[in-house]
């Protein structure tokens, strides 16, 4: 059976009362033939047949109330058994389609996701890998930071009695050599793995040199056994070699203690980094005039600020402090 449901008779009226049937079961009806008269709240309405067919069943007698959407009558034949009197389902009136879809993301979307820049580097310039001396510096500094237990001491040196034209680096190198005799442990190599140390007879001073390419530390060798003239010549050669970048790698190995003379630029005090296996480094700041007590009275004197950092695994505070005292004494000599 195919059901014919009471259609909306207008103005959203929810129900109608059957007044009179104009057909009976078994009748053949034509399209638009009047089937039934119903009375709504507004009027008596004649309901036409939506299709041709044979009447199979009438739902309700005159006087019965039929709600909009409820079966009113049925035709013979197979109906579209939609089953429900609740609502109306939209029916497909087009031809059959095949369903095409991608399970998950489209390849173009996956590529976009894979190629997106990460949150942190977005809008920053591409990272530039470090090379050469800068790369070496990064590695050495990290290695030092990971091993060394650094302690720094600071002190001022009155260099007011120096003659004009004194080569400051030369004086510092000589002072370090003298101080190493007072505190030999400052001129040693320490092995943190085996917890052993080697005291060094010769003092090989690594001299930190700043260049556009990075930090170079050429080694001025055996400073405690060489003549002043010889040292001057050696220092001059090293500086030239660094400036022209012609220094062989061997010339930058074997330092037993390091001097960082950053006073040639700006800065007074620092915590210079000890480079293992060395145990100490001396930092020399910029000389400046200061008002200081001098023979019991204020005086303007030239002051050299000194910083020393030592590896407290290998060196005691006392040893370092005595080293500093000896270095100052050597420097203050005119």
């Amino acid at each position: 059976m195919k059901h014919f449901k009471l259609p909306d008779l207008g103005e959203g009226l929810p129900e109608a009362e059957i007044v009179e049937w104009h057909v009976k079961v078994g009748d053949t009806v034509a399209v638009d033939q009047v089937l039934v008269s119903v009375e709504t709240a507004k009027a008596i309405v004649e309901v036409p047949s939506p299709e041709a067919g044979t009447v199979a069943k009438l739902f309700g007698e005159p006087g019965d109330i039929i709600h909009t959407g409820e079966p009113l009558m049925a035709y013979e034949g197979e109906g579209d058994d939609s089953g429900t009197v609740v609502g109306e389902l939209k029916k497909d009136d087009s031809e059959t389609r095949t369903d095409t879809f991608i399970i998950g993301a489209a390849e173009s979307s996956k590529r976009a996701r894979a190629n997106r820049s990460s949150v942190r580097t977005r809008s920053l310039p591409k990272a530039e890998p470090l090379r050469g001396t800068r790369r070496t510096m990064a590695k050495n500094m990290a290695a030092s930071h990971a091993q060394v237990v650094p302690v720094s001491i600071f002190e001022d040196v009155d260099v007011g009695d120096w003659k004009s034209g004194t080569d400051i680096t030369m004086r510092l190198v000589q002072g370090i050599a003298a101080a190493c005799e007072t505190s030999p442990v400052m001129n040693s190599w320490f092995d943190g793995e085996s917890l052993s140390r080697r005291l060094k007879d010769e003092v090989h001073v690594g001299i930190a040199v700043d260049t556009p390419e990075g930090l170079f530390v050429p080694v001025l060798r055996d400073v405690n056994h060489r003549t002043m003239v010889d040292l001057r010549k050696g220092l001059k050669n090293l500086r030239e070699a660094v400036a022209t970048r012609k220094i062989p790698p061997a010339e930058m190995q074997g330092a037993t203690i390091t001097l960082s003379n950053f006073g040639t630029m700006t800065g007074q005090y620092a915590n210079p980094i000890v480079s293992p296996p060395q145990v100490a480094i001396v930092g020399a700041g910029a000389i400046r005039e200061k008002v200081v007590p001098y023979h019991g009275k204020p005086a303007v004197r030239r002051i050299l600020p000194l910083s020393i950092t030592f590896d407290h695994r290998a060196v005691t505070g006392g040893e370092a402090s005595r080293f500093l005292g000896a270095l100052i004494a050597a420097l203050e000599a005119a």
């Binding site: 939609s82 089953g83 609502g87 939209k90 497909d92 998950g104 996701r113």
Partner: protein
């Protein structure tokens, strides 16, 4: 039985086809619900099943949703795979106690000794001129419950594949059928027992300017909007979320990373809707790729109106097109 035959089916017929396939191939599958056996279901989803598989596997229940849900849990924990029908989603709330307090947490509560391989089917959504309680879309309630999968097919093919997967899933699945499109599309579906994944979105249309995200019946309006926008040279990617819990954020993020724009469409009211979860996920995972705010096109925060006003409530094609133009203009 002629297996693996291609049939032209509507979405509701695909549901019936999937149920029949799985009952044929797995004797532990049973179906139960109000008027589903002798009558064949209010929408005919279970038509013919009782004649084919007998009243022991196709059961009419009393009009008692709490009983339907609880009975299914008992069956599921003891070795059956029940597929229980709630006649309309609007009737499901008296069963919430069973669903939320028992089905969803059975595996956890018993430390894995019992599990609950059941499916709760329910037609949902408006647009069919139905009375009160027959039209709402409250899928977000279930998406919020850990331990439940919430699956919403939007085509005959996906209804078939997802329902098979839902029945085979070892934990409870809420399977919501968009009744407005139960018969709106006919597709050729291979009746071969192939399931679709229960944790993956479906990309219905590939595009580059804008991602339209939807599920359920709104997929129809969304696809239509994509067609209209294509005529105006706006290339839309259309994603059917399919399973709203667990949410396939990866697919959504891939697409939005590509397009930089997203409009989310759903029939449910806006406040606390699943679109909010999707928008938040996009903000968390693709913020720097976004070229415009994520826009939602949804129903209103009101009770679903009676049918004379339901079209005013439901997101229309022009609403989606207008929202798309707004984000494109930004």
């Amino acid at each position: 039985m002629s297996a693996s035959k291609s049939r032209d089916v509507t979405l509701v017929e695909a549901v019936n086809m999937a149920l029949a396939w799985e009952m044929e191939h797995d004797e532990s599958v049973v179906v139960l619900g109000e008027d589903i056996a002798t009558n064949g279901g209010v929408f005919r989803a279970t038509a013919g099943l009782k004649d084919r598989f007998g009243f022991k596997r196709v059961m009419d229940t009393p009009l008692a949703e709490n009983l339907i849900a609880g009975t299914a849990i008992g069956m599921a924990t003891q070795g059956l795979k029940p597929v229980a029908e709630f006649q309309f989603m609007g009737f499901i709330y008296s069963a919430m106690e069973q669903i939320v307090s028992h089905a969803s947490r059975m595996r956890n509560r018993t430390r894995g000794r019992l599990h609950c391989p059941l499916v709760y089917r329910a037609p949902f959504g408006g647009g069919i001129h139905a009375p009160e309680h027959h039209s709402e879309s409250t899928e977000a309630l279930f998406a919020h419950i850990p331990g439940l999968r919430v699956v919403i097919p939007s085509s005959p093919q996906r209804a078939y594949g997802l329902l098979l997967a839902a029945i085979r899933n070892p934990d409870p699945v809420i399977f919501l059928e968009p009744k407005r499109i139960y018969r709106a599309v006919t597709q050729s579906v291979e009746n071969n027992g192939d399931a679709l994944p229960l944790d993956t979105c479906f990309t219905l249309r590939e595009g580059s300017d804008l991602t339209l995200i939807s599920w359920g019946a709104s997929i129809m309006e969304t696809l239509e909007a994509a067609d209209l926008l294509a005529e105006q040279s706006v290339s839309c990617e259309v994603i059917d979320v399919g399973t709203i819990s667990p949410l396939d954020r990866e697919t959504l993020l891939c697409s939005v990373t590509k397009t930089g724009r997203a409009v989310i469409v759903h029939e449910a009211c806006r406040n606390g809707g699943v679109s909010a979860e999707i928008a938040a996920s996009i903000a968390e995972g693709a913020y720097l790729e976004l070229k415009a705010p994520v826009i939602r096109v949804t129903g209103y925060d009101t009770v679903m109106p009676y049918y004379r006003n339901e079209q005013a409530y439901l997101p229309q094609v022009e609403d989606i097109v207008e929202a798309a133009k707004r984000v494109i203009a930004l």
